[in-house]
Amino acid sequence: MSNSYQANMRVWRGDDTGGGLDDFKVEVNDGEVVLDIIHRIQATQAPDLAVRWNCKAGKCGSCSAEVNGRPRLMCMTRMSTFDPAETVTITPLRAFPIVRDLVTDVSFNYEKARQIPSFAPPKDLKPGEYRMQQEDVERSQEFRKCIECFLCQNTCHVVRDHEENKQAFAGPRFLMRVAELDMHPLDTLDRKDMAQDEFGLGYCNITKCCTEVCPEHIKITDNALIPMKERVADRKYDPIVWLGNKLFRR
């Protein structure tokens, strides 16, 4: 049942001052994933190889990296998807500053998360009195499947090679958070203008790269970003809404 072979692995090692790719020959067994191989390198060849991981079951979103240039969770990437003769290259997420080896500084994401105004329920609604229909919560529930692996943030071309856009653009994960709250049946805030003006929804040109890399298969572009853009558009270009805003702006 066990089908072992020696794989050629190439792993980026270094820190914020620089680094390069190191080659390792490592045993691979039936059913193993990339993270197993990284752990074997740690245990047998490079005990100080830095890597983040946690649940090893695709539920926590810690072990994000680029596998042959594609943003992936290492725990959900089976070695059987590669040819045994192929060299598998593991590099850290490119959009974030290097800490060491495969570990990057993802604090950008926590800063953006803190800027989004929190859920605001009706003030007079008491705990236990919340009533919502399943079909009304399902839209936001899809976005709440997000495990915050930040692969979408890493792959989005708005920031991937444009550090300068990070200030104005919250990235797909956090634009999706704005959409999630906007679609929450009991949220009372109007989040359309802030999506556009404060979190940079306009930068997104719906190339769907975020959706492609999402390990939770959330349809970020189709279900969160495009509907949000449509709502913003209705608001901005609907003359009646425009007039209403002029007359009754709080």
Partner: protein, 634 residues
């Protein structure tokens, strides 16, 4: 230590899972300044892996439910060894704690009339688990993370500083608690990223570090579960109870080898899934233990009827408490009726429609598809027991979460008592909320009542720093931390696992002594910046100390009960029911001190709670003398 990074807080919470976050929220709501320190990135704690749900008698699915029924189920599940006061508080307060989450923004699945939907689970009389598909833990941790952000936004509006009252210190490991005399004065640790030391000066520390599963080879637990809180508490003079009780979840993945142990939610069985052996037989009907006779369906027809309508039949034995199901699977495999990979079959494919499976169990579908190439809507899963949860933990006051060391509090999996000898599924998430809040409140009240703040001495810091750096010294006969860890996991798995004997436990203790000695020669390469070898070397000390508690308590308890099965003492004994094995540490090695186990009696349950049970049921567990106060007798 002039260059040491220092922070001053009112309360330091160690651990950012459900219990830790709820404690942070509470202490902050009480007006205190709180630091939360965790080993992983914020939001990655093990709580994200909880799948099935959060138990609370909200009565949304069956109006006959009540806190008393939930209390009774919890005590029954724990074989009446639970701390009754904790079980009572838990059952009474869980509904409020769940409803509160909705005000923070949680989106649970709904009933037709728009309330929170509740699902069936092992050992729960009525459908009781609030859930979001099979990713309830993620919802709960994200909700509380977002609540903390919302509190930080309030603080920003008031002071111009998001971190005026709550600050997250993530990827930071606490290696030692610091005391002033006998009371807590702070916590010392290092930043995982830089390896630099950091001191938190605080009169109160809340431990919320979770479990100990990484001491076992086959485990559903993440790397963080190295018993840090258990060990920190012991070294600070507090006590642990119930350490012999380890829950082996009946359904972990068994294949492929690299994912062995990963959890398969009990929700599969809650939603109609059934266990079968290699002969295709639904074997659980053969394993209803005498204490549960009469409470479970005895035919397949009755079990299936119960799934359709809870009130017209008895529940399926596929949903017996976890200890019973795990032992049954173990017996089937031993009898040669296991699957090719040493498990049994779990069948949902033939039970509910494909679309329902994908909707109710999306992460299970995904997990089996991606990791095992099994389509659970077409084929059966192969499952077997996996080390999942430690019932044992820090001995605390039920109402405040206070440990024996003044200023030390604990909540969640790292505390002990609530679940007795076996935890029911769904009672963990509710435990985190109820006792996380209580520990946060207990710590806040303690701090407010203090006449003076404790002081951290330089001596304590010098010692803590020296001990942390020991693995960087040169040692004769250098040991690799990864090797030691593998040996520990193998020994605990094989010798103090699901079925135990005196001889095997004694062998484990010999092995633990050997590992303790070799621990001092652990040598790590490289430097202090994000060095996983060094991190493991430090975590290993905690795993060794806690493993010794497990083994010593398991050796002392000469009966079988819940998560402790002695092949040489297979019966449950009423004389053992009320006895707690209390672990304390001191003397011997300074880093991994010696463990002493002392039997102590629990406080008896008051008559009004005894009245929640039929006398005939209690007679299966209690001694005659203990039942004199039961309402039916007096």
């Amino acid at each position: 230590m002039a260059e040491l990074e220092r922070h001053e807080y009112d309360v330091v919470v160690i651990g950012a899972g459900g219990a830790g976050l709820r404690a942070v929220i509470e202490a902050r709501e009480q007006g205190l300044r709180v630091a939360v320190v965790c080993k992983s990135l914020f939001g990655k704690a093990h709580t994200v892996m909880a799948e099935g749900g959060c138990a609370a008698s909200m009565r949304n699915a069956n109006s006959k439910d009540s806190w008393q029924v939930h209390f009774g189920d919890t005590m029954r599940g724990g074989k009446f060894l639970n701390n009754w006061r904790m079980a009572e508080l838990h059952a009474r307060e869980a509904p409020d704690r769940v409803w509160e989450l909705e005000t923070y923004g949680a989106l649970f699945d709904r009933t037709k009339d728009g309330r929170i939907s509740q699902r069936n689970f092992g050992g729960h009389t009525y459908p009781r688990l609030a859930h979001v598909g099979d990713r309830t833990g993620l919802e709960i941790i994200r909700t509380m993370q977002q609540k903390i952000v919302s509190l930080q936004q309030e603080d920003f509006a008031e002071t111009g500083d998001y971190e005026a009252r709550i600050k997250v210190f993530h990827e930071c490991t606490i290696t030692e608690l610091v005391k002033d005399g006998d009371r807590i004065a702070g916590a010392f640790g290092y930043w995982r990223e830089s390896g630099r030391f950091v001191l938190f000066e605080a009169p109160a520390v809340v431990l919320a570090t979770g479990g100990i599963g990484k001491s076992f080879k086959v485990s559903s637990n993440s790397w963080e579960y190295t018993g840090d809180g258990h060990a920190l508490a012991l070294r600070a003079g507090a006590t642990l109870i119930n350490m012999e009780f380890i829950q082996f979840h009946p359904t972990g993945m068994v294949w492929p080898p690299s994912v062995k142990g990963i959890l398969v939610t009990e929700g599969v069985r809650g939603d109609g899934g059934v266990l079968k052996n290699s002969e295709g037989k639904r074997f659980m009907f053969d394993y209803i233990p005498s204490v549960f006779k009469g409470q479970y369906a005895e035919t397949e027809e009755e079990a299936d009827q119960w799934l359709k309508d809870n009130d017209s039949a008895r529940r399926t034995p596929d949903l017996l408490p976890r200890d019973e199901v795990a032992r049954a699977i173990n017996s089937e495999v031993k009898a040669g009726r296991g699957t090719p990979h040493g498990g049994v079959y779990l069948d949902i494919a033939s039970r509910i429609p494909t679309e329902e499976i994908k909707k109710r169990l999306p992460s299970m579908y995904h997990q089996f598809m991606e990791l095992a190439e099994v389509d659970i809507t077409k084929d059966e899963m192969e499952v077997g027991p996996t080390c999942h949860y430690v019932m044992g933990g820090i001995e605390v006051d039920p109402d405040t979460g206070a440990a024996r060391t003044p200023g030390l509090f604990a909540a969640g999996e790292c505390s002990g008592g609530m679940h007795g000898s076996n935890r029911l599924g769904g009672n963990s998430l509710s435990d985190l909320l109820v006792f996380g809040r209580r520990a946060g409140l207990g710590a806040a009240q303690y701090v407010k009542a203090l006449p003076s703040r404790p002081v951290v001495s330089d001596d304590a810091l010098t010692t803590a720093a020296r001990e942390a750096l020991e693995p960087f010294d040169e040692h004769v006969g250098a040991e690799n931390p990864y090797t030691l860890h593998t040996e520990l996991q193998q020994s605990m798995n094989d010798l103090v696992g699901i079925i135990r004997t005196k001889e095997e436990i004694e062998q484990a203790l010999v092995k633990l002594d050997d590992l303790k000695r070799r621990m001092h020669n652990v040598t790590v390469e490289g430097h202090r910046q994000f060095n996983p070898g060094w991190h493991l070397a430090i975590d290993m000390r905690n795993m060794l100390l806690v493993s010794e508690c497990v083994a010593k308590a398991a050796l002392a308890r000469t009966e079988s009960r819940g998560g402790h099965t002695r092949d040489d003492h297979p019966e449950m004994s009423a004389d053992w029911r009320n006895i707690l094995l209390v672990c304390s540490a001191g003397g011997g090695d300074p880093i991994v001190p010696d463990v002493t186990v002392t039997p102590e009696q629990q406080v008896p349950m008051p008559a009004e709670l005894l009245g929640c049970f039929e006398l005939s049921e209690l007679e299966k567990y209690y001694t005659d003398a203990e039942l004199a106060a039961h309402p039916e007798r007096s």
